[in-house]
Subunit: 236 residues, 2 copies
DNA sequence: CCTTGATGGATTGTTGAACAACCATTACGC
DNA sequence: GCGTAATGGTTGTTCAACAATCCATCAAGG
């Protein structure tokens, strides 16, 4: 059977299938807005006018509304009936709630370290290395991105697609809370050594210890974010 | 200042605000379809035609599409580009993934039992009592509903709105997997005693023990569901 | 001066129709 | 039998229109 597609090749092709799923205009619009919102282009509280944005992006109101529905479900925008779409202002209870979720999910995933395949554990360490490289270059925005990858990789230790998606959304929402954090270096630098320590515990398969370290880590991060929000003034 | 609204009264009124948020047609349509799908009115694999459903419900295609977007994000429907909206067929990997998520979230929440306020712990026990009452009446569909409330209450021990919503969605999706389970009594009866035991551990604040019991509980439930799927034949 | 009530403009909510793009199937030719 | 072209039906997207709602403004009244 020369010239036939072997099962292995077929499998490797099937693995690349997600790349070629056609994506609707609404989803592309949502993707574009998602990055803009996370980058902070639209400050919390901004109203996203249907007409203005639709005109700017060259899509119809209906398509734009479909995109908004997607973003609202990710909590990257909020929908107020008959008033429109807004970039949410996260208040202190939102920050606390997000960190409760993270402690639960990331902590639980970290406990799975021993059971996780080596490449997933390596991904955790790789994200830490990325952060350290970026710190060397004093690129603190890249540090933040690497830090989020680190936490995404921690969540991936659970080995569940749904947990992965959950983490993506939670971290995207958290970026809105970071809006109040102006001094990137002061926030991120102290955590880098702790990231490294957690990564090493994970790689060693010492999940319980990693979880403990992570729990206190997240508690401290939450406190700092709350303090920043206090200073920033989050009057709704 | 007699006759003025005090701060306390204002706060209590503000607490009731969720009741008066107007809800759009698209969301009402989504809610209606959600219950129908979870009830099993549309068997997995059914295509939900835009025109047919729009006509049946008396809403326009655009509005219906907005509703579909909501359901797709909850994974209660899947969207295949240029082909339409389908009720998903959960395969074995989906079931496993859902149970991985549940072990993580419910387990982690159970560990918070000691820290949770008494009324939340009581809600766990109340759900078990509901299930027992329904079993007395041999109403096994009600037992299933109460069982899902039990797990929802377990998740609520984490004290996070986002975890609550996550649990709602996960359990709704799981109902699709239950489609393969025809014999309700045989599936649910053996778990009732274990539910009771877990509830008592939770009420006693013995979170770690509750988590261990829950973990093995969920593992067994997963095995049974997988076996049922095997028998049912989940050929895509 | 403050509150209440009414007016008008702007935005969203929803609909219906239209056309293009696409998928699945049928029918055809070899 | 197999590859190819035509076909019908469905979705993807846009547009225009109207109703419903909100917001700001201003007038009237105590």
């Amino acid at each position: 059977m020369t010239g036939t597609i072997s099962d292995e090749i077929a499998a490797s092709l099937a693995a690349g299938r997600p790349e070629l799923v056609a994506v609707s205009t609404a989803e592309r619009v949502a993707g574009l807005l998602r990055t803009r919102i996370m980058e902070g282009l639209f400050p919390p509280g901004t109203r996203l006018s249907e007409e203005a944005l639709g005109h700017a992006l060259g899509v119809s109101r209906n398509t734009l509304r479909e995109a908004f529905r997607l973003l609202c479900h990710e909590r990257l925008t909020v929908h107020e009936m008959n008033r429109g779409i807004f970039v949410p202002k996260l208040d202190r209870s939102d920050v606390s709630d997000l960190y409760r979720l993270r402690r639960l999910v990331e902590g639980g995933a970290a406990r799975c370290a021993a059971a996780a395949p080596p490449e997933r554990r390596a991904a955790v360490a790789a994200a830490v290395t990325d952060a350290e490289d970026a710190a060397q270059r004093a690129d603190w925005l890249a540090v933040r991105t690497a830090d989020l990858h680190f936490h995404q990789a921690l969540g991936a230790l659970a080995g569940s697609d749904r947990v992965d998606e959950l983490m993506r959304r939670a971290l995207a929402e958290l970026r809105l809370a970071f809006y109040a954090m102006t001094d990137l270096e002061r926030f991120h630098r102290p955590f880098m050594a702790r990231n490294r320590a957690i990564a090493e515990l994970v790689c060693a398969g010492r999940g319980d210890e990693a979880e403990r370290a992570l729990t206190s880590y997240l508690a401290d991060a939450e406190d700092q974010l709350l303090a920043a929000h206090e200073a920033f003034g989050t009057t709704g």
